[in-house]
């Protein structure tokens, strides 16, 4: 009890967002809700009039909605994948990050699916995919794998959340009934911990192939057609890399935001940003490698219908977006993250991440639209200019996402309290034992004494 009181004091700051809510929060929520309401109006307009209110046309049948779909699903790789990989590799610096990342995943998946529903001509018939499924269709693979991913991510978010809910149940005056139900009778016993750890570890292993499959099948929606610059074998891995890339950037931004707003500087330290920054750098280089491979192959092959699309991206209508994307995804991250000094700062990684998100959104746009607007039969080529409805819905989705995220932080601790404590109490020992096991048997005795 005493121990827990002392620890409560230590981690009070983690519980404060749940205990107190300032007026600034309500103002913020109000703005987000206003944006969301505007989005609803846009959506109702679209429902009433049909998709003619968008900028879509023949042959650009897919535009912003599908771009956003791919983008949001891409970001979903953030949480679960990163948290799972970091857990499995016993990276100790993951502890303050995992929950923030997992929440991103669970929430953003809804918006990804939401984008597809927005795009449908007849959303009222969406359940037809269950009534008359065509399993040869990559869209149906999407439906399947995203459903599984959503389920798995939810479970994977929920499992490590249980001990924290128990803490809230025991220490929070309000909403006790809510926490009691969700805590599933957690007592913190050894046995429960063991079961929990096995469950989490199992999910961590399962979630990785599921996550990889999700963005692979999303990429296959494009790659399984025969359209120029879509029908490419590289799409599967390319999209996964891009997803992880934009996912990590999303985590960094989210982390920086909660750190600032909830004063979590002692938990989210520059070293965390530095490490994530390193990962971001690696992904940037990997992304660059894939992109270069894709474009060089296309260019070298010089097939006419492919070259029309290629040139429209590199020097034609889409050139400004293309080169912005390259700068945003490679040049700026390399500059900021290649340099240890800037990488180790919060602002350095955040700026790089924002740049990456912009660049990656542009990359999704540049995958979807140019191939459609320059089809194989040149007579049909056309421009695409998104309308206010599409932009409004994008804005409202982002607003809604932030809103739900903020609500989550008000209901549950955004940093996993019990894992922080676990780290404090046990990890130092575990890690030193682990390092010991790598080295030869001569170990300085000083370290050995700590084990008692």
């Amino acid at each position: 009890m005493e121990k827990s009181e002392a620890s409560m004091q230590q981690d009070a700051v983690l519980l404060r967002p749940i205990e107190q809510t300032s007026w600034k929060f309500w103002v913020f929520i109000g703005i987000l809700l206003a944006i969301w309401l505007w989005g609803m109006f846009a959506w109702l307009t679209q429902l009433r009039h049909g998709l003619e209110v968008t900028g879509l046309n023949v042959p650009v049948y897919w535009g912003l909605y599908i771009t956003n779909f791919v983008f949001f699903i891409g970001i979903s790789h953030a949480g679960t994948l990163i948290s799972a990989i970091l857990r499995l590799s016993h990276a100790e610096w993951r502890r303050p990050i995992t929950r923030a990342a997992e929440v991103i995943t669970v929430l953003v998946l809804f918006f990804g699916v939401g984008c597809v529903l927005l795009d449908l001509g007849r959303p009222d018939r969406a359940l037809n995919v269950l009534k008359h499924p065509n399993f040869m269709s990559p869209l149906l693979w999407d439906v399947t794998s995203i459903s599984i991913y959503l389920t798995a991510s939810t479970v994977y978010l929920y499992l490590p959340l249980i001990p924290d809910i128990a803490i809230l149940r025991d220490h929070m005056p309000k909403r006790r009934w809510f926490y009691r139900i969700l805590s599933l009778g957690w007592t913190g016993s050894e046995r429960q911990h063991r079961i929990l750890e096995i469950a989490i570890a199992t999910m961590a292993v399962l979630v990785i192939p599921i996550a990889v499959s999700v963005h692979t099948v999303v990429s296959w929606v494009f790659a399984m057609t025969v359209q120029p610059m879509w029908h490419s074998t590289i799409f599967g891995p390319y999209f996964v890399v891009g997803a992880i890339f934009s996912g990590i950037a999303a985590i960094i931004i989210a982390m920086a935001a909660i750190r600032k707003v909830y004063h979590l500087e002692s938990y989210l330290k520059p070293i965390h940003f530095n490490n994530l920054g390193l990962l971001l750098l690696v992904m940037s280089l990997l992304w660059f490698y894939f992109t270069f491979a894709e474009f060089l192959t296309t260019y070298y092959g010089s097939e006419p219908s492919h070259m029309v699309v290629f040139l429209s991206k590199t020097e034609g209508e889409f050139a400004p977006y293309f080169w912005t994307m390259v700068v945003a995804c490679v040049v700026i991250p390399l500059a900021l993250l290649g340099n240890g000094r800037t990488r180790g700062t919060v602002w350095g990684t955040v700026v790089a991440s924002v740049s990456v998100e912009i660049g990656m959104w542009l990359e999704r746009f540049l995958i979807v639209i140019p191939s459609l607007s320059r089809p194989r039969l040149p007579f049909a080529a056309a421009h695409y200019s998104p309308s206010w409805v599409e932009w409004s819905l994008l804005a409202s989705f982002v607003a809604m996402f932030i809103f739900l995220y903020a609500v989550f932080t008000k209901l549950f601790p955004i940093i996993s309290i019990w894992e922080i404590r676990e780290g404090r109490e046990r990890s130092v020992l575990e890690v030193s034992r682990r390092v010991q096991s790598y080295l030869d048997s001569a170990v300085p005795p000083a370290l050995d004494q700590k084990s008692s």
């Binding site: 007849r122 359940l127 429209s312 034609g316 607007s373 320059r374 040149p378 080529a381 056309a382 421009h383």
Partner: protein
């Protein structure tokens, strides 16, 4: 553990419940969404088909209307009809939209407000209309001023039109103005060569080498479907033989794209190229010497009846149209001219056609003469694959008009526009009519009736025309859609749609055999309170009474047509329309001098015509010289005197000669204006139907607008980009059009389509595009031919604030 299982069970139950609930909810939603769609009721009832004749162009295609429960749901070609053989052009297919057009005039409209606005009209009744107009006309007769009634009509063939003509005669007015329909120059060329007054018919399907001098052979040609059918046969219809088409034009038109060779000449020089070819034919002795020697006059120099020396074609060509000169003027290499001429002569069945692009851009007399001469040079007159002349349809003459001093006196007066009614061309042009009306000389006009035409739109000076109409106390329009002229009228008496009325249509221009198509009303009660124009004239005649009334002994249109059919029966030739087998049978019989008609009474003929679509005579008696050559010399004449009179007026000079004279200040980059008529809006009709607006130019269906095609070099010099809005300005007017930078035209030319730019015509036509007629100078062929379109020069300037967003790369 227990709780985990409970949790899992709870989750499963919840999910199942959710799905079970979701399915009917989604179904309800679907129904809700579907209910937001307006109910549309398909027709129910017995199905049959009715035969009619399409009137959206002068082509005269037989139409079979599919009727379900009293509603017409589709039009197809009448398979037995010799003109179109079961096929229809896009206008014919879209004609259904004109029947059910939302902006049709629902009944007689009377103007109560200022002229020119649709809102100025109030619905009225036929009774009132006929009373008022009848009174007015009666008054004119009483005042012995019947000549103050003028009629402008755009058609010469239909029953309504013939009745209108008779009405004018019976009434006593000489002012029966037949508006320019695009056939005049071709008929004139045929007349000058062969002495017969009709449109030449080209036997395309039997030809083997066609040299087309700028004509829109595969577009708004005289009878489009008939020509296209012939073209199909010409290409791939004869085993082992494929016709070759060489097209000469400064623009890569649809006909040029279908051709085997596109010879891009400088604008206005198609005829000159033809003369170059003629020169080679003569110089290298490649012409048909038998025909040339025995059946032509004017090939070589000769002395005419008065003893005057007249230059022959040989002399004129050798002197004025040398190969070098022709090549320099047209921009075509000498070798090409030589090659084409030799190929042309060597072909088993060469045929020259051109330069008509459509009813509004009908080509200069110069070019038509050249075409006629080329055919004559290769002996292609009245032979299979050549220039044919259709016989007249043996319709009975209508009863003689009763003698009436008022009418006789009126008819003797000179026409208000000064055109001599006997000598062709006795047709006139809206610009000229506007001038004359404004001058009010030699006598003021009291009543104007306009039918089958929209002169206010088809006018190079529409504002003047509108002003001219203001001087006329009573203007009556018979338009069924409120077109530009109707908006200026005092009364709109909407005519019935061709599917709503009886009609006996005769031979369309360009078809070499006489025919009479019977159109039965497919819609038994017209959709609106409309009447066929013929009926209106019959009623008006009765209102006026006296000799006018007795000039029209028929109570209604059907009776009138029936009496015409009686005359057909009495002619004892021809047969009902039928299959190819029937055609061959009749031809064989008639060649042997027999007549085996398949009907034995007027009733049988009538019923047969209702069932098959009409009557025709498929037998063509080739080389019946007395019929087809009726010149004073009884020979085909090469009228080089006419040619020389025309030369100076009609050819567009290349840029260099004129512009170097005004080189002070900025250089005048004037371009030659080339006009063309896309088939869907040819003749100024079609823009009111949205399906036709969508097909104006293949590959550019986004543009319901007038565009201006310029060559990339020209665009570069002028600093214009694709899709810019440009002002096209001539000495006489200007329009705004969308620039299209394309290699489909030669440099220094701007090509603009005709047919858009109407103020009236319903919601889809109104305000769409601009009318390039405004750009034309009023200059005409000295023989009163059409407004010369080849000699106009224009300047292009960028309109400020243009949206310049080029179409994506790869778009043509």
């Amino acid at each position: 553990m227990k709780l985990n299982r409970r949790r899992f069970l709870g989750f499963t139950v919840g999910a199942t419940a959710g799905t079970a609930l979701g399915v009917p909810v989604s179904q309800t939603l679907s129904d809700l969404v579907a209910s937001m769609d307006p109910p549309v009721y398909p027709p129910r009832g017995p199905e049959d088909s009715v035969l009619s004749v399409c009137r959206l162009c002068p082509g005269g295609c037989g139409v079979r209307a599919r009727r379900v429960g009293g509603r017409i749901v589709k039009l197809e070609g009448n398979p037995l009809h010799p003109v179109n053989g079961g096929r229809l052009c896009p206008k014919g297919q879209a004609a259904l939209q004109s029947l059910y057009h939302p902006d049709r005039v629902p009944g007689p409209l009377r103007r109560t407000g200022p002229r020119g606005l649709l809102e100025s009209f109030e619905p009225s009744s036929w009774e009132q209309a006929l009373n008022e107009i009848g009174e007015r006309l009666k008054l004119l007769r009483e005042q012995e001023r019947p000549e103050s009634l003028i009629m402008m009509r755009g058609d010469a063939r239909g029953t309504s039109s013939r009745l209108a003509e008779r009405f004018m005669k019976a009434f006593g007015s000489p002012n029966d103005v037949l508006l320019h329909r695009g056939d005049e120059a071709a008929s004139q060329a045929l007349y000058l060569g062969q002495g017969v007054r009709t449109m030449p018919a080209y036997d395309l399907q039997s030809a083997e080498y066609v040299l087309c001098l700028g004509g829109a052979l595969l577009e708004a040609w005289s009878s489009p479907v008939h020509t296209m059918r012939a073209y199909g046969e010409f290409r791939q219809g004869r085993p082992g033989r494929r016709g070759k088409l060489v097209h000469v034009e400064p623009r890569l038109s649809i006909t040029a794209a279908a051709a085997d060779e596109w010879i891009a000449v400088r604008p206005g020089t198609e005829g000159i190229l033809g003369l170059g070819v003629a020169g080679v034919l003569i110089a290298e002795n490649l012409y048909d010497r038998e025909f040339g020697g025995q059946r032509t006059l004017g090939l070589d120099d000769f002395r005419d009846r008065e003893g005057n020396f007249r230059e022959g074609l040989r002399t004129v060509l050798a002197r004025d149209y040398s190969l070098e000169g022709v090549s320099a003027e047209t921009g075509v290499p000498i070798n090409t001219i030589l090659r084409i001429a030799r190929e042309f002569a060597a072909s088993r069945s060469p045929l020259a056609v051109g330069p008509r692009k459509g009813p509004l851009v009908s080509g200069s007399l110069f070019d038509h003469l050249v075409v006629q001469w080329l055919n004559a040079l290769v002996g292609n007159i009245d032979r299979p694959g050549g220039v044919l002349v259709a016989e007249d349809v043996p319709l009975p003459p209508w009863p003689e008009l009763p003698s009436d001093p008022v009418a006789d006196a009126g008819r003797m007066r000179s026409r208000f526009d000064g055109v001599n009614g006997e000598e062709p061309p006795h047709h006139s042009y809206p610009e000229r009519l506007a001038d004359v009306l404004l001058a009010e000389y030699p006598y003021p006009v009291e009543v104007l009736m306009v039918l089958e035409s929209d002169p206010a739109f088809l006018c190079a000076t529409p504002e003047r025309f509108a002003r001219a109409l203001e001087n006329i106390p009573l203007v009556v329009s018979f338009a069924s859609l409120p077109d530009d002229t109707a908006l200026l009228a005092d009364w709109i008496l909407p005519e019935a749609h061709f599917l709503e009325a009886w009609e006996l249509d005769t031979t369309p221009p360009g078809v070499p055999f006489p025919l009479a198509s019977l159109a039965t009303p497919a819609v038994e009660t017209p959709l609106h309170d409309v009447r066929p124009v013929a009926q209106v004239f019959l009623d008006l005649a009765q209102r006026i009474g006296g000799t006018v009334a007795s000039s029209f002994p028929w109570p209604d249109l059907q009776t009138l047509i029936r009496s015409d059919v009686e005359g057909l029966y009495r002619a004892r030739r021809g047969a009902l329309m039928g299959t190819a087998f029937d055609e061959a049978w009749v031809q064989m019989m008639e060649r042997a001098g027999w007549w085996a008609p398949g009907y034995r009474s007027v009733d049988e003929l009538w019923r047969g015509m209702e069932e098959t679509g009409g009557w025709w005579d498929p037998f063509y008696d080739h080389e019946n010289w007395r019929r087809v050559i009726q010149t004073p010399s009884a020979r085909h004449e090469f009228r080089t005197d006419i040619l020389q009179a025309l030369t100076a007026e009609t050819v567009a000079r290349p840029m260099n000669t004129e512009d170097n004279e005004n080189t002070e200040g900025p250089v005048d980059h004037s371009l030659a204006l080339v006009l063309f008529e896309p088939l869907p809006i040819a003749g100024g009709r079609g823009a009111e139907l949205p399906f036709l607006q969508g097909i104006l130019d293949p590959g550019h269906e986004e543009g319901w607008e007038t565009w201006a095609e310029i060559h990339p070099e020209t665009a570069r010099i002028l600093g214009l980009s694709d899709r810019d809005f440009v002002r096209v300005e001539s000495a006489d007017g200007s329009i705004v059009a969308r620039a299209r930078v394309t290699s489909r035209v030669v440099p220094d030319v701007v090509a603009v389509p005709m047919g858009l730019g109407r103020r009236g015509g319903g919601r889809w036509a109104r305000g769409t595009g601009a009318n390039p007629l405004r750009l034309l100078s009023p200059a005409r062929d000295p023989l009163g031919g059409p407004p010369v379109t080849g000699a106009t020069r224009v300047r292009l300037t960028l309109v400020a604030g243009a949206e310049a967003r080029p179409l994506p790369e790869g778009r043509v």
